[in-house]
């Protein structure tokens, strides 16, 4: 319980764009999730290849689409 509460208030780490680019290139597809939480129109006009679109307002209803064991990079 305490662990869960602690996690809830732990901020996610930041990843610089260059680090993210290296990470995406070095890690095989399927071992991580690249998550786009913007609106669909923003995704349509430009997104990082391979990003999964789940707009922020729908995220809490969509956890089952994501694997909690895999690292997630969010933008």
């Amino acid at each position: 319980m305490l662990e869960k509460l602690k996690k809830m208030f732990t901020p996610a780490g930041n990843m610089q764009p260059e680090e993210a680019r290296a990470y995406l290139n070095e890690h095989p597809e399927g071992t991580f999730t690249l998550l786009d939480v913007r609106q669909p129109s923003e995704y349509d006009s430009s997104h990082i290849p391979g990003a999964t679109l789940i707009p922020l307002p729908r995220l809490s209803d969509s956890y089952d689409r994501l694997d909690p064991e895999k690292p997630v990079i969010v933008y």
Partner: protein, 194 residues
């Protein structure tokens, strides 16, 4: 939000997509997803990818045949050769997945050659992008755009597929596409310096 739900590692991309300087893809999630049913076997999906590589190679050759610019002609020849290498990679993948399957010639015969990587159709693509097919920097930008769209489409295919083995194959093809993008980026940097 995700950390509170038991996600082990979560990272925010600093600066969001505005700070991203890598390749980007465009279009809705459903774009060109109708090119696959979602129940393809690994061999069927390799055939889809092989057809796209073949068609893209044919596109570069076709544009190359029409240009009088020697430097651009050489670049288009290089790009077509790169697609040949991609085809070889997919043929090796096919042979590793189905070593006792139909021979390479038969595999090649069944391939659809109407759609290029990224899901574009050659004639329409040439028509709408004619002005970007006349100089070395423009063609390099266009080829990077095509590879970015291809990478994105293979990953969206993998999200549509119901077959675990097919998904694993698509992930391997997507990883190969990342290599193509990096190689093209290097080629563009080299041209920029030249």
């Amino acid at each position: 939000m995700l950390l509170g739900q038991g996600f082990k590692e979560v990272y925010n991309l600093a600066g969001g997509i505005r700070a991203w300087e890598g390749a980007v893809a465009q279009g809705p999630v459903e774009l060109n997803l109708d090119l696959v049913r979602g129940d393809e076997t690994p061999v069927e999906i390799i055939k889809v990818a092989y057809g796209m590589e073949k068609t893209l190679g044919g596109f570069y050759r076709r544009v190359g045949d029409q240009t009088a610019d020697a430097e651009l002609g050489r670049l288009l020849d290089t790009l077509a050769s790169i697609e040949e290498k991609h085809k070889q990679y997919l043929m090796e993948l096919y042979l590793s997945v189905e070593p006792s399957g139909p021979p390479a010639e038969e595999f090649e015969r069944d391939v659809d050659s109407t759609v290029m990587e990224g899901g574009f159709r050659t004639d329409e693509f040439i028509r709408t992008n004619e002005r970007f097919l006349k100089s070395v920097p423009d063609v390099l930008d266009l080829s990077m755009m095509l590879e970015a769209q291809a990478l994105d489409l293979y990953i969206r295919f993998s999200q549509k597929t119901a077959n675990e083995e097919t998904r694993a194959i698509l992930s391997r093809i997507a990883d190969e596409e990342k290599g193509h993008l990096t190689a093209l980026g290097r080629l563009r940097d080299k041209q920029g310096r030249g």
